[in-house]
């Protein structure tokens, strides 16, 4: 299976729609511990991505992603928006000059996103962030695909790992970002970023 720019655009488009549908939940979760801007950040990011999908007329997946990353940063430079833009720009570098990507490359995408977010956000697993869903997702996706060479199955396993990871953030104490400043009081709710991550992969796995 080979993925073209149009496939990449489709994946981003459906993910943007999922993010938009979660706006209120994300705002609510983020208000519990952060500054409550996660819903609006994802809304702005989703709109920026959708606009870039319409605007970009070339064929280079890397160039498209780099431009998308810059657009997200311009539209939503808050914490999650910046992390998202860094991750997309990093993927832009990875796929620079490519008009297609393979399944093998695709299953490595979450791991590249993990590295970009860890580097920029200086967070680790267990800090109560999106990484608590994204790292298990990335690991499960690669391990499953390496074992069965079946993307559908790998996506399902990745979605399940992400959901478990997101659930586990409930009960954790935040160690980075604004939520860190409230310490113990951050324990009662799951992390909004992790919940978002699990929802996005769940949607992709259902579509196959």
């Amino acid at each position: 299976m080979i993925y073209t720019l149009q496939d990449v655009k489709n994946i981003i488009n459906v993910s943007a729609e999922v993010a938009l549908s979660l706006k209120e939940l994300l705002t609510e979760l983020d208000s519990r511990s952060g500054d409550g801007d996660l819903g609006i950040t994802m809304e702005k990011s989703a709109h920026a991505l959708m606009l870039e999908i319409c605007k970009y007329e070339g064929k280079d997946i890397g160039e498209f992603l780099s431009k998308s990353g810059i657009s997200v940063n311009r539209a939503a430079p808050s914490t999650m928006g910046t992390l998202l833009s860094c991750a997309i720009m990093e993927l832009g570098k990875e796929f620079k000059g490519s008009e297609e990507i393979t399944c093998e490359q695709l299953v490595k995408v979450p791991a590249i996103i993990v590295d970009a977010i860890m580097k920029r956000g200086k967070a680790n697993r267990g800090d109560k962030t999106i990484l608590d869903a994204l790292i298990p997702l990335a690991d499960a996706l690669q391990a499953s695909y390496a074992r069965d060479m079946n993307l559908k199955v790998a996506l399902k396993e990745a979605a399940s790992a992400a959901a478990k990871g997101a659930n586990r953030t409930k009960g954790m104490i935040a160690k980075v970002g604004r939520a860190k400043w409230i310490g113990e009081r951050s324990r009662d709710y799951p992390d909004g970023g992790a919940v978002l991550c699990a929802a996005l992969i769940e949607n992709l796995s259902q579509r196959g």
């Binding site: 500054d35 409550g36 801007d37 810059i70 940063n73 311009r74 430079p77 808050s78 914490t79 928006g81 910046t82 992390l83 860094c86 920029r120 956000g121 980075v176 970002g177 604004r178 860190k180 400043w181 409230i182 009081r185």
Partner: protein, 338 residues
């Protein structure tokens, strides 16, 4: 909440336009990016440029500190949101005089990441940058991890002292070192009495009872350390001041600079009542407030409340604190005396 505006979506842009139209001889913006604002004369030759930035809604922080003896440029974000990396780069390129650029801003994650990205790109363009983050709010982390604190009103001292140092054409490393020294010797603690409203939002950013105050609340409504009944100015002083003095290990005989800052909707009259009590409390402990600033230095829209910042002084810091500085919003230092 009643606000004077045209449309909430244009809050930042309209406000910025007003500032630029009011002070064309002092401030200018990037031709394609109104959120990238700099001293009208930038770049200033031979001088290290200081670039700051952060969310809008805290005036005079951050934009109000762009001017002679303070910062060279500012990247303005949306209300309570970091500026984007592109805006930071637009300012950086505008103010760079090839003597290096110091990024000086409050320690918030969005700002940290966007300035970091900008620094990486600036470096690729051959612009040398250094970064100093202001972290003075003692409610957000203990002294041993003071670098993790969020930055609030104490940023005034960092701007003032680093700005004076840069104005004397000191090297980038020197400006960075004095900024770090200032922040290490600065501590702030405050109380919030009522919330502010984001433009276009029906809800306050936090709820607080009519008769309550929250100790240590952040300037974006981040939860503080304790909520209690609103007491007297004397009692507020006795809650805030001892913690700051202890945090900075201030002993009898120490010279300090004091900043009593209003959060946006507390009257200056009240701030001076608070200062009277601070002054008396300091006198009782034998601590000398040799420089005093009372007014609005870092606000949070129309939040009601105040913070106290203390800078532990030595000769070097005092001398730089006294140097002249002038912007449309802040006019301190220079000639002293009646």
């Amino acid at each position: 909440m009643k606000k004077i505006l045209n449309h909430a979506d244009n809050f930042v842009e309209d406000s910025l336009k007003g500032i630029l139209l009011a002070y064309p001889e002092l401030l200018a913006a990037h031709p394609e990016d109104i959120k990238a604002v700099h001293r009208a004369g930038a770049p200033i030759q031979e001088k290290v440029a200081i670039v700051t930035g952060g969310g809008y809604g805290h005036i005079p922080v951050f934009l109000g500190y762009v001017g002679k003896g303070l910062c060279d440029g500012v990247a303005v974000g949306n209300v309570f949101t970091s500026p984007g990396c592109e805006t930071i780069l637009n300012v950086t390129r505008q103010v760079n005089a090839n003597k290096g650029v110091l990024y000086l801003f409050g320690n918030y994650m969005g700002d940290c990441m966007n300035f970091e990205m900008a620094a990486e790109i600036a470096e690729m363009e051959g612009i040398k940058t250094e970064t100093v983050k202001v972290s003075d709010d003692i409610a957000s982390a203990p002294r041993e991890s003071w670098k993790e604190r969020r930055g609030i009103a104490g940023i005034f001292f960092a701007y003032k002292i680093a700005g004076a140092c840069a104005e004397r054409l000191a090297a980038l490393e020197e400006v960075k070192a004095i900024a770090e020294k200032t922040i290490e010797n600065t501590a702030t603690f405050g109380v919030a009495l009522s919330s502010c409203w984001l433009p276009g939002s029906e809800k306050k950013i936090f709820e607080i009872g009519e008769d309550d105050m929250e100790i240590g609340m952040g300037i974006h409504g981040e939860p503080g350390v304790k909520r209690g009944r609103l007491t007297s100015s004397c009692e507020i002083t006795e809650i805030l001041l001892p913690s700051i003095l202890e945090d900075l290990s201030i002993k009898e005989g120490q010279r300090v600079a004091i900043l009593v800052n209003g959060l946006g909707a507390t009257s200056q009259e009240e701030l001076f009542i608070l200062y009277k009590d601070i002054n008396e409390a300091l006198a009782a402990r034998g601590i000398k407030p040799v420089r005093v600033f009372v007014g609005e230095y870092a606000t949070s829209l129309e939040m009601v409340g105040a913070s106290i910042s203390i800078l532990k002084l030595d000769d070097e810091l005092l001398e730089l604190l006294d140097a002249p500085a002038y912007t449309p919003f802040v006019n301190v230092g220079g000639v002293r005396g009646a």
